[in-house]
């Protein structure tokens, strides 16, 4: 069980998030909604330790998480265009490979095979040697997902991973994300501006408004009106 308790983050005098508490189960996908500036990105960055929180705790089965336990899929992919899809995915496993392998570009066969499996898991069969800079938006996002999965995290976060994609491509990316989350038993938390895109795949909805959690419910109990309340002034 992934448990966040009373999480708080301030920037100077401004409170970005406060009193944020929730729990998520392995093999489930939660969707985080809220207006721009509500604190979604701040929350995800605190969970991934890219930002140091100012209060509260983050635990997995009661224990603190270490650096490799949480992976983040970035909005614009944050991939290296000049590298191949395989090389970008392999970057997700840097923490467990000796440094010299990255320096000389000579990864263990088991790592390469696992990275190719990740690409296949997101429907990128045959893309291993293709340069990321030549891929479409949806393909790049799926490479980002594969990279995050290659890190073998306990928790997979995604910060508006489909913001720049058309609805059909966005649904495909989310479907793949949900499938791998459930198959690999990780905890998925995805922030989205278009909650309807996640209707088919979300197990839970979390809603942030002005830095506070105003919605935390199973997806079956959430209707469009409840989500609209999160976005209300």
């Amino acid at each position: 069980m992934f448990t966040v308790t009373d999480l708080e983050k301030r920037y100077g005098d401004e409170t970005a998030i406060t009193d944020v508490s929730f729990s998520l189960e392995p093999g489930s996908l939660a969707v985080l909604v809220g207006r721009s500036g509500a604190g979604k990105t701040t929350l995800l960055r605190c969970l991934n330790d890219l930002e140091q929180s100012d209060g509260g705790s983050i635990r997995f089965d009661g224990e603190p998480l270490d650096a490799t336990d949480v992976a983040l899929v970035f909005q614009a992919g944050a991939l290296l265009d000049g590298k191949s899809a395989l090389e970008n995915v392999l970057d997700g496993g840097l923490a467990r490979e000796p440094l010299w392998r990255e320096l000389v570009g000579w990864h263990a066969p088991a790592e390469k095979r696992a990275a190719i499996e990740r690409l296949h898991a997101v429907d990128l069969d045959g893309y291993a040697t293709r340069r990321v800079g030549d891929l479409s938006g949806g393909e790049r996002q799926r490479v980002g997902v594969a990279r995050a999965l290659h890190q073998e995290p306990r928790v997979l976060l995604a910060d508006e991973p489909v913001a720049s994609l058309d609805p059909a491509t966005a649904r495909h990316v989310l479907d793949r994300l949900a499938a791998v989350v459930r198959r690999e038993g990780v905890i998925g938390l995805v922030s989205l501006h278009q909650p309807r895109l996640a209707d088919a795949v979300a197990d839970r909805f979390l809603g942030l408004a002005e830095g506070r959690l105003t919605l935390d419910a199973p997806a079956d109990d959430v209707d469009p009106d409840r989500i609209a309340e999160v976005y209300r002034d």
Binding site: K112, H120, R171, E184
Partner: protein, 327 residues
């Protein structure tokens, strides 16, 4: 990919989520300690596909590695051959290390002698140092506007090939000539002294900064340029409004860096009569007065460090102004 989610009912969604959860719950990973690799749920066809792609990847990587090893071997052979041809002999250098040690420790770095030399040569060294700084500053200032113009004209995303290719060629030609040679030429034009040095520095600035400015211009984001150009603005207006703002920070950083480089370059141009601290340094060397050489080196060190400190302050001030503008 299909897009049918809009038409799914609540029941469909629940069924989809439930089925997926139930089907995969048994395959959820456990974490006993060291992480285990995931068990792919792909069946034999999926495993075969992964295997095939893995073999293709390995073949691709082997080819790439062979090319890289080959290229490295060729580079190593060329460098080794060149070193032998110029007579680089590490054993000889090691055998004569005592000569260098004696000059360094007994003459150049002997504290009492160095201090006495600095006191004796102080006034003349100070004048020569200020002259060196003036050469660097004037040379950079003269070369900079020309470098900016040629940098813009030499960018392939600004001008057509008929323009940017010859400009790049010109910049390469200007860069190919060492500053010493320009200094010798300009001594013929301007006579012995710092003017020749400043003109030599200007030429070097045009060649080096012009190339860097062109490279920076080619890396800009095309979208704002297209947005401005689509309003009907001409090349000059588009460059001013959409291209230059994207490279200003980089141009300023390069210019300040080149000011430091030019201060170093200027310090040796006096060897060919182009003014600055190079002349007293050269005269000391000719007279085998290594303490005098070291005194000149100390003056150059003070000059270069001072220029770097001023450049850093300027950069910090510009950064602070930019942050203040962002509000």
């Amino acid at each position: 990919m299909t897009d049918s989610a809009d038409e799914r009912t609540d029941a469909d969604r629940a069924e989809s989520r439930g089925a997926a959860t139930a089907a995969n719950a048994s395959e959820a990973k456990s974490r006993p300690g060291p992480r285990s690799k995931p068990t792919p749920d792909r069946g034999s066809d999926g495993d075969a596909a992964v295997g095939e792609e893995f073999d293709r990847v390995q073949a691709h990587l082997r080819r790439r590695l062979a090319i890289r090893i080959g290229a490295f071997a060729v580079a190593l052979a060329l460098v080794t051959g060149a070193a032998r041809w110029i007579g680089l002999d590490v054993a000889y250098l090691y055998a004569h290390r005592e000569n260098l040690r004696a000059v360094l420790l007994e003459e150049m770095l002997a504290p009492a002698e160095l201090w006495a030399q600095l006191q004796a040569d102080g006034p003349s060294l100070a004048t020569a140092t200020v002259e060196t700084l003036a050469i660097a500053t004037v040379g950079t200032a003269v070369g900079l506007p020309i470098a900016i113009c040629l940098g813009i004209l030499g960018a392939s995303n600004v001008t057509p090939r008929l323009v940017h290719a010859p400009v790049r060629l010109l910049l390469g030609g200007v860069r190919a000539v060492p500053s010493m040679v320009y200094a010798l030429l300009f001594v013929v034009l301007a006579g012995l002294g710092p003017v020749a040095g400043a003109l030599a520095i200007a030429m070097g600035t045009v060649g080096d900064l012009g190339r860097l400015f062109a490279d920076e211009m080619e890396e800009i984001d095309r979208a704002p340029v297209e947005a401005v150009a689509s309003s009907g603005a001409g090349l000059l207006a588009t460059t001013t409004a959409a291209r230059l703002p994207q490279v200003t920070t980089a141009y300023v950083a390069w210019t300040l860096f080149y000011l430091e480089i030019n201060a170093r370059k200027s310090s040796v141009l006096g060897i060919v009569g182009a003014g600055g601290i190079g002349y007293p340094l050269f005269m000391s060397f000719n007279a085998r007065n290594y303490t005098g050489v070291m005194a000149a080196v100390v003056a150059i060190l003070v000059l270069v460090v001072s220029v770097e400190l001023v450049a850093n302050r300027l950069r910090d001030a510009l950064d602070a102004e930019r942050r203040a503008d962002r509000g």
